[in-house]
């Protein structure tokens, strides 16, 4: 029996694709879903800062809500949101509502 040479053995334990965990859609864990009411959001960045999944997106642009101009808007990417509720709990104006998944 001939053994493979060292360089022919696949290298173990090395992951070459950064951020490849994105292949794992953790949104399926959710039982409660955060719904962000854009008309109530005062753009304070708090939910975005505290989300453990980094799944609240900060979108740049021109947004007018109730006559006020904003440069940002926040959107939740449900692919990864685990429904922990931190965003809703921390939002100072209760713009995020947790609703049961159907």
């Amino acid at each position: 029996m001939s053994l493979p040479k060292v360089h022919e053995i696949p290298i173990g334990g090395i992951i070459t694709e950064p951020g490849s965990s994105r292949r794992n859609p953790t949104g399926g864990w959710r039982s409660l879903k955060p719904v962000l009411h854009d008309d109530r959001c005062i753009r304070c960045r708090i939910c975005w800062m505290y989300c453990p999944e980094g799944t609240i997106k900060e979108i740049k642009g021109e947004f007018v809500v109730k006559g006020k101009k904003y440069q940002y808007k926040y959107e939740i990417d449900y692919t990864y949101c685990k429904g922990c509720g931190i965003c809703a709990h921390e939002c100072p104006v209760k713009a995020i509502e947790m609703v049961p998944e159907t």
């Binding site: 999944e53 809703a88 709990h89």
Partner: protein, 314 residues
């Protein structure tokens, strides 16, 4: 502390810690990982000790990390980081690398207070240019909530049950900052995932001082299953830890101790400290505490604040 970020709007937007990791919903340490990578930036090599933040982020063949990352074992993260720093130095000497590369250890409390303590001490004593970040969830969470040297007195864990013989952990939480500061590094600081501007400024400061020698950051990061509270309250629990004086925010900067807000205000005016009960009562791990036991813990909190204030006055 150098104030690089004045408000939340100065904080970096780019994410270097990817979604899809398997940390529990509401994980405090996962919030810390996002901010450590964001603030340290892409030119950082992370050396991670075994623990929740390793196991949940690197399920082969996938990784949540978007920076170079090394995991060796539970007890030797600081030793492995020392080797990386030495290798970078050699590359520099040979003219093969001239950029600034941060070497950042990320380890849990079990990996720091207990099992990795000697490799941490060795790294600090030899003076490696490494930043060591301890994320403290106050027990060995990844293996199912066993007590560590960081678990506070009277806290329930699976190895410190609440019954007739004992009422949760018997011993006090170890003063890890005291141990680190005894090595006289250029910089060491505490931070909480509830105060992210403070945390980010301390990380930036530590990274800058790492040019001189080792630096240390102790981050309180609550864990919903381990501390037994509903997962939406992670940030609230961390905030209460700071506002009750349970987890003071302070820094050691080239020999000088400084208390940071809001701890500085609480130490100056005890009326501004929230009762410890507010922190304890929302956590199941303290649900069994009697008023006398709470009073005993509160005395410890006050004594610790007074001790730190004394150090800061020197």
């Amino acid at each position: 502390m150098k104030v690089v970020f004045k408000t939340v709007w100065d904080l970096p937007a780019e994410e270097l810690f990817a979604s899809g990791h398997r940390a529990c919903a509401g994980c405090g340490p996962a919030i810390a990982m996002r901010w450590l990578t964001k603030v340290a930036g892409p030119n950082t090599i992370v050396v991670n000790a075994t623990g929740c933040m390793e196991v949940t982020t690197t399920q082969y063949p996938e990784t949540a990390w978007m920076v170079p990352y090394l995991h060796v074992a539970f007890e030797n993260a600081a030793a492995a980081a020392s080797g990386i720093e030495a290798a970078i130095k050699t590359l520099r000497r040979k003219g093969l690398w001239s950029g600034k590369t941060n070497v950042m250890v990320i380890a849990g409390d079990g990996g720091t207070y207990d099992i990795g303590l000697q490799s941490l001490s060795g790294m600090l004593e030899r003076g490696h240019r490494v930043i060591y970040v301890l994320y403290d969830n106050e027990a060995y969470m990844n293996t199912g909530i066993q007590r560590s040297g960081s678990t506070p007195k009277y806290a329930w864990t699976t190895t410190t049950p609440v019954g007739k013989a004992i009422r949760g952990k018997i011993q006090r939480k170890k003063d890890i900052m005291g141990i680190v500061v005894a090595h006289r590094p250029p910089y060491a600081a505490t931070a909480s995932i509830s105060n992210l501007v403070d945390l980010s400024n301390k990380l930036k400061t530590a990274l800058e001082y790492t040019e001189e020698g080792p630096t240390f950051l102790h981050i309180l990061a609550p864990c919903p299953p381990g501390w037994r509270y509903p997962e939406e309250r992670t940030v609230e629990v961390a905030r209460l830890a700071v506002e009750t004086g349970y987890f003071p925010l302070w820094e050691y900067d080239h020999g000088k101790v400084r208390l940071n807000p809001p701890t500085s205000a609480i130490a100056a005016d005890p009326k501004r400290r929230r009762p410890l009960k507010e922190f304890l009562k929302i956590q199941g791990r303290f649900a069994h505490l009697t008023d006398a036991e709470i009073e005993e813990l509160e005395k410890d909190v006050v004594a610790n604040l007074e001790y730190l204030a004394k150090l800061a006055s020197l």
